[in-house]
Symmetry: C2
Subunit: 356 residues, 2 copies
DNA sequence: CTGAAAGCGCTTACAG
DNA sequence: CTGAAAGCGCTTACAG
C-alpha cells in the first residue's frame, strides 16, 4: 500500500505539488489566483484519493498546531489524582470553547511547560493550581513567566498568582467571597466560626488568604473566630492525615472529629472547598449533629453535586467553566495580537442553601 | 534573537549535526559508538544553549508523538457538557498511566477520529460513550473500526460496543451488575421496583440492556417490575425534559415527580447512573419520603461524592480509573506488538450503603 | 567513531 | 495562473 502524499495527488491531477498546496490552503494569499478548472481537478483527486495532508509536515512549516495546552499540575504538587473535580470544571469550559473554535486540548503533565511552547507543540497554554503556600519551584516558575512574557507567548493562569511577576490571569475575588460569607454569618448570628482547609504540610495558598480575609471581616463583630478553630496546613494540634490523593473529603472528616473531641466545635464551619465540606458533614452526621440547627457548614467552589446533598450545601460558586472559556477566548485573541493582556478578577456568588 | 537549532549546537560543539542527533537519540543503534569526549562536548553545548529539538521535525521523521488521544464524544451525541463526571474518571486513569509512561493526552472532539491516527497526530486512541440506542453514525463508525483493525492501529473502546464488528474493548459486565442488584432487592424483600434512565429520545444503550437483565433476574420472583415504572428514553407517558447538557440530575427529579403524581411509586428505584439517583433522592425529600424506609434508591457508577450523601448512596461501582489505566497499558503493548488484542469484561462491585 | 548527504511532506517566495 | 526549487529541522543509511 503506497502512502499517498501531496505528490500522489499532484500526479493524479496532472499539476505540480505547489498548486495542490495552494488549493488546499485557503488562507494562503496565492489561493485566489487559481483557475476554477485546475481547482476542480485537484479537489477531485484529493477526494478520490482521500488525501490527508501530513500534520507533522505542516507543523514543520510553521503552521499553527490548533492545540491549546492545559497544564494540570506542577511537579511535586501532583498527587495520585490527575484531574480534580475543580480542574475538570475548568477543563469543561476550555474544551467547549476550544472545540467551538476548532482547537483541541492537550493535557500536559510534567516538569517542563516551556518546552511545549518553545517547541511549538501547542499554540497556547493554560495553567492552574500551583499556588501553594510554599512552592519550592517559585523561582523557576517566575523565570518561566518572564520567559513567556518576553516572547509574548499566549498563556493564562487561572486562580493562581506568583508574587513579583505579572501574568495574564483570571481569578476569583477571595476578599469579596469572604465578605459575603461574613455577612451571612453575622445575619444568622452564628456566635463562633471555624475554618477547615487542607490538612497537609503545604496547602493551597487560597485557604490562608481566605482565612485572613474572614478574620478581617469578622474582627470586632463579636463573632468568635479563634485560632484553634482554624485547621489548615499541618503542625501544632492539627491532626495528621496521610495524603492519598483523595478529593479532600478526608480532611473534612478528620477536622470535624478533631474539633468535637477537643470540644472546640464552633457554630459554623467555613470550608476551603466543597469536598472538605462534604467530609465535615458526613462526620457531623456520625456524631448526630443536626445541620444547620447545631452546626452550619459553608463550602467553596460550587461543585456539580453539592446542591443534591441533604441538606444541600451553602457554598461560594466559582464560575470555573466560564474561567476556562474566557481563558481560551483571550488566548485566541493573543495569538492574533501579541499585545493583548488579561487581568480579570471575578466576584463570586454565595449560594445559600440548606446547611446555613 | 537567532533561533537555535541542531546546527547551532553542532557549530558550538565543533561537530556535525548528525553526531548531535545521534547523541540526543539514545534509542538510536548508532548511539553507542560515540566517543565520550565528543559526547561531553555536545552535551555541554546543548546544556549551555538550552537547545530543544524541534517537536515537529522529529514528528516528520516518523518518531512517535508520545501522545494518546481520548475521544470525548461522537458527533451529534455531544451536548453542552464536554467532560462528564464519568468521563473525567476514565480520564483520570488514562492520564495517570500515560504520564507514568511519559505520554501526554490529547482530548479530541469532533467528527474525524481516523484523521488523527492516519496523520499520526497521536500514537493511539481511546474512545467511549458513543453507544446510543439509535446511533445514526453506526455505519460510519463500523467502517472506522474496520479501517483501524485493518491497519492494526492501537485503539481501545471503553464501555461501548458496536454490533457486527470486533473492537479492542474494556467493558463492565452489566449482567453481573444487575444480578447483584436483583439479589439485594430480593434479600431486602422490596415488593416493587422501578427503573429511571435518561429521559431523552436517544439514551445510552446500557440502560436498556440493564433493564432487560433486571427483568430476567426478577422474573418469577414475585417482585413487581412493571413496564410503567420503567422510565427510559422518551415517548408514551414519560415526561419530556429539555436537554440542557446537565448531568442527568434533572432526569431523576422529573422521573420521581412523575411516579409520585401518577401514584406509580415503587418501593425501590434502580437508576441508570448516580446523577439520576441524586435527582431522584432530592425530589423524594421534597415529598418528604423517607429513604430507605419508604423508598430505596440504587445508583450506578460510583461517583466520588455519592458516599457522602445523606444517606450515602448504594451503588454499583465501576472501576473507571482502572479502565483508563488498563486501556493505556494495552495501547503501549499494542504499539510494540501489532498483534496484541484486548477484550475485557469486568465484574462490578455493588456497594451497599444507606439508601437500601 | 564521525561527516556529508538524502529525504521526511509540506509551504512559499521566485520566476515566468 | 502555474511550475521548479529552496527550505522548515531533524534522522539515518551510506561512506570512510
Amino acid at each position: 500500500m503506497k502512502k499517498i502524499g501531496i505528490r500522489t495527488v499532484a500526479e493524479a491531477a496532472g499539476v505540480s505539488i505547489g498548486t495542490v498546496s495552494r488549493i488546499l490552503n485557503p488562507d494562503s494569499a496565492m489561493n485566489i489566483k487559481v483557475s476554477e478548472k485546475t481547482r476542480a481537478k485537484v479537489l477531485a483527486a484529493v477526494g478520490q484519493l482521500n488525501y490527508q495532508p501530513s500534520y507533522s509536515a505542516r507543523l514543520l512549516r510553521g503552521t499553527s498546531t490548533r492545540t491549546i495546552g492545559f497544564a494540570l499540575s506542577m511537579p511535586q504538587t501532583h498527587d495520585a489524582v490527575y484531574l480534580s473535580n475543580y480542574t475538570a470544571r475548568i477543563l469543561n469550559g476550555i474544551g467547549a470553547e476550544a472545540s467551538r473554535n476548532d482547537y483541541q486540548v492537550l493535557l500536559i503533565q510534567g516538569e517542563d511547560y516551556r518546552h511545549y511552547m518553545d517547541v511549538k507543540r501547542i499554540d497556547a497554554l493554560i495553567m492552574t493550581g500551583f499556588q501553594l503556600n510554599d512552592n519550592p519551584l517559585e523561582g523557576e516558575m517566575r523565570e518561566m513567566f518572564e520567559h513567556f512574557n518576553r516572547r509574548d507567548y499566549p498563556y493564562v493562569v487561572i486562580n493562581s498568582h506568583l508574587p513579583g511577576v505579572t501574568t495574564a490571569s483570571i481569578e476569583i475575588d477571595n476578599e469579596a467571597a469572604m465578605s459575603r460569607i461574613a455577612s451571612l454569618i453575622l445575619r444568622k448570628r452564628f456566635e463562633s466560626v471555624g475554618f477547615v482547609g487542607e490538612l497537609t504540610p503545604n496547602p493551597q495558598r487560597h485557604h490562608a488568604e481566605r482565612i485572613s480575609y474572614l478574620k478581617k471581616f469578622l474582627d470586632g463583630t463579636g463573632c468568635r473566630f479563634e485560632e484553634r478553630c482554624i485547621l489548615n496546613g499541618s503542625g501544632g494540634d492539627i491532626p495528621e492525615l496521610p495524603r492519598i490523593g483523595s478529593y479532600n473529603h478526608d480532611d473534612g472528616k478528620a477536622a470535624l472529629r478533631y474539633l468535637v473531641r477537643n470540644q472546640l466545635l464552633p457554630r459554623c464551619i467555613v470550608c476551603g472547598n466543597d469536598n472538605i465540606a462534604l467530609g465535615v458533614m458526613q462526620a457531623a452526621f456520625e456524631y448526630r449533629l443536626r445541620i444547620p440547627e447545631e452546626l452550619a457548614v459553608i463550602g467553596f467552589d460550587g461543585d456539580y453535586n453539592v446542591g443534591y446533598m441533604n441538606p444541600p450545601l451553602t457554598t461560594v460558586e466559582q464560575p470555573l467553566e466560564e474561567f476556562g472559556r474566557i481563558a481560551v477566548q483571550f488566548l485566541l485573541r493573543k495569538i492574533e495580537d501579541p499585545a493583548a493582556v488579561l487581568s480579570l478578577m471575578k466576584e463570586p456568588l454565595l449560594i445559600e442553601r440548606g446547611t446555613t
